[in-house]
């Protein structure tokens, strides 16, 4: 026990004396959560749009007022001929142009149909379709107001309600993802680097010749990172609760237990990486390319797994982050209990055992 304490103390000296480690450990989590929370967002706010009002009547004016009153859009340009549309798009002044046809109001009353064209800059396809949806919904609302006193014979009115995230805040989606990425980064990359550093310096040999058993060396090396990762998880959850007002509907205790499980899974991966890489550089490359990219791209953090091509969907199953994100979303947003994430928990547990098993085998081979 005393040896263990001495070993862990030494690990903390390494961590606290290396500015790079410190930055990755504590700077990154906070920077990432703030970046994802504030800057990177799927919501649209204050999108610049242009108006080409060829009708210039009461109805079109009313619609324009409604649009400019919405916080989603700001009208920055009123143009007067069709030929100007292209030039303002090219200058990048606007993301969308709303074009009312001649006699818009008259057509609506007499012909019961009037056309308005929504042109969007689809160089950013997601943005374009979101803008188009928002504008359509404003138009629909206006239409419903007009028809209030008129009885229509048959009408289907979809009543959609967004559950678990009624305001469609994207930070709700990012918090579980960022938490996963950070825990993976800190646990897997930092441990693999710290173990390979001992190999590179030649101190690993000294440790193996000492009376310490190999598993004691490994546990001594990963223990500080369990501790630091738990602190990180707590900081992320606190930030998301108090800065972004993401609710934690489920049990904080369960969230804690599951996080520790995922931290251990990542540490096991880190140990595995360190057994196959001889230098810190290799360990870092494998962690970044082999872990970070799949964790960000294939875990369902940013891109929904259900819309991926089948081969990628299959691959996503072997990514621990996928299962942890499901667990975190479930607990934080849906407030579910352990009963609903048993499968995911079991998969993470199994992965951890496999990683540890393979590492132990590799480690022995290397010693021979």
């Amino acid at each position: 026990m005393k040896r263990f304490v001495g070993f862990v103390r030494k690990e903390f000296y390494h961590i606290f004396r290396d500015k790079r480690s410190l930055f990755i450990l504590f700077g990154m989590p906070i920077a990432q959560i703030l970046l994802f929370g504030f800057a990177i967002t799927n919501e649209i706010n204050n999108v610049d749009i242009g108006i080409l009002d060829q009708a210039n009547d009461v109805t079109s004016k009313e619609i324009i007022n409604k649009i400019s009153a919405s916080k989603h859009f700001s009208i920055v340009d009123i143009i007067h001929q069709e030929s100007s549309i292209e030039s303002i798009f090219k200058k990048g002044k606007v993301k969308a142009v709303l074009q009312f046809e001649n006699n818009f109001g008259n057509n609506l009353i007499k012909e019961k149909q009037a056309n308005v064209q929504v042109l969007t800059d689809a160089t950013d396809p997601n943005m374009a379709s979101t803008i188009s949806n928002y504008i359509s919904s404003i138009l629909k609302k206006y239409q419903q107001e007009l028809n209030k006193n008129v009885s229509v014979d048959y009408q289907i009115v979809p009543q959609s309600r967004m559950v678990y995230n009624a305001e469609l805040k994207s930070v709700y989606m990012f918090v579980p993802g960022v938490m996963t990425v950070i825990l993976m980064l800190v646990s897997a990359m930092m441990t693999s680097i710290s173990i390979t550093r001992e190999k590179e310096q030649g101190t690993m040999e000294i440790l193996l010749v000492s009376p310490l058993k190999p598993f004691q060396v490994i546990i001594g090396k990963v223990f500080p990172y369990i501790f630091l990762s738990v602190i990180n998880a707590v900081v992320i959850v606190l930030l998301s609760i108090f800065v972004f007002h993401v609710p934690v509907n489920g049990s904080l205790f369960l969230l804690g237990i599951e996080s520790v499980l995922f931290i251990i899974t990542s540490l096991a991966l880190g140990i595995l990486i360190s057994t196959i890489s001889a230098t810190q550089q290799t360990a870092m490359m494998i962690s970044l390319m082999g872990l970070m990219l799949p964790t960000i791209l294939l875990s369902g953090f940013i891109f929904p797994i259900s819309s991926m091509p089948l081969p990628l969907q299959v691959i996503s199953n072997i990514i621990p982050a996928k299962w942890f994100i499901i667990i975190v979303k479930g607990i934080m947003l849906k407030g579910i209990g352990i009963g609903f994430v048993l499968k995911e928990t079991f998969i993470l547990l199994l992965m951890t055992l496999v990683f540890i098993g393979v590492s132990v085998k590799k480690y022995k081979i290397r010693l021979e």
Binding site: G6, Y13, G202, T203, V209, P211
Partner: protein
């Protein structure tokens, strides 16, 4: 347990990697308090042989005991009784002199009191009083090497294994380093040392020379020179290595 005061006893020890015999049926004994030079060109099998003796690699066949313990079954006991210093510099650069001593003393199970006492002795002996709180990274290479050697002796091992300990060190420091080795041997520690420098081979009580996995010569430097009718160990080595 130890026969005739031999702390290392090796009989027909081999290590195969597939069909390749990195170490091929070597036999030798090292007496307590002896400075035993273990020589050989790169790839001759020195490091593999040494790894078997220090308990981090298992032999394919043959018998060997180190400090009276079997290299197959009692590696844990071997590890407690030996010290080791490798060719790569082996202390932590980002720890201070004091922290390194505390750490290595700790993993060998020394008590705090023992560590404190050893540290004072060691710091005094090496004249490191001014730098105990400096990071090891800031020390000159020669000092680091001497410190690493002293640290490998902290737990008073019966045998200390030195794997090319003086690589890259200037001649004066090398000389001082060998004075430390003599002193340790004088205090009863057995020294098992590999080296590239043939002048260092002259400082050993006995030397063995390994060529292609086998020990081709083993005797005192004086007798080896007589046998090969030359006046330097360098010539002895060249004659053997070239076959």
């Amino acid at each position: 347990m130890m026969k005739d005061n031999n702390v290392i006893q090796v009989e027909n020890l081999s290590k195969l990697f597939g069909d390749f015999a990195a170490v091929n049926q070597i036999s030798f004994q090292v007496k307590a308090g002896e400075i035993f030079g273990f020589l050989g060109a790169n790839g001759a099998g020195k490091t593999t042989a040494m790894k078997m003796l220090i308990g981090i690699s298992s032999p394919t066949s043959g018998k060997a005991t180190v400090a009276g313990f079997d290299v197959y079954k009692e590696t844990e006991s071997i590890k407690k009784n030996i010290g080791y210093m490798s060719q790569k510099f082996a202390l932590y650069d980002d720890l201070t002199v004091k922290e390194n001593i505390t750490f290595f003393g700790g993993i060998y199970g020394l008590s705090k009191k023992q560590i404190d006492q050893k540290r004072c002795e060691l710091v005094e002996e090496l004249g490191l009083q001014e730098v105990t709180k400096s990071l090891v990274a800031s020390l000159p290479l020669g000092w680091k090497q001497k410190l690493a050697f002293s640290v490998s002796l902290l737990h008073e091992p019966k045998i200390v294994f030195l794997d090319e300990p003086t690589g890259g060190v200037d001649p004066i420091t090398r000389r001082q380093f060998w004075e430390m080795i003599y002193k340790a041997a004088h205090n009863g520690t057995t020294i098992f040392v590999t080296t590239h420098y043939m002048d260092e081979a002259e400082y050993c009580d006995r030397v063995s020379i390994m060529v292609n996995g086998k020990i081709e010569a083993l005797d005192t430097p004086k007798k080896l020179k007589e046998h090969y009718k030359t006046d330097t160990m360098n010539h002895v080595f060249l004659k053997l290595a070239r076959g």
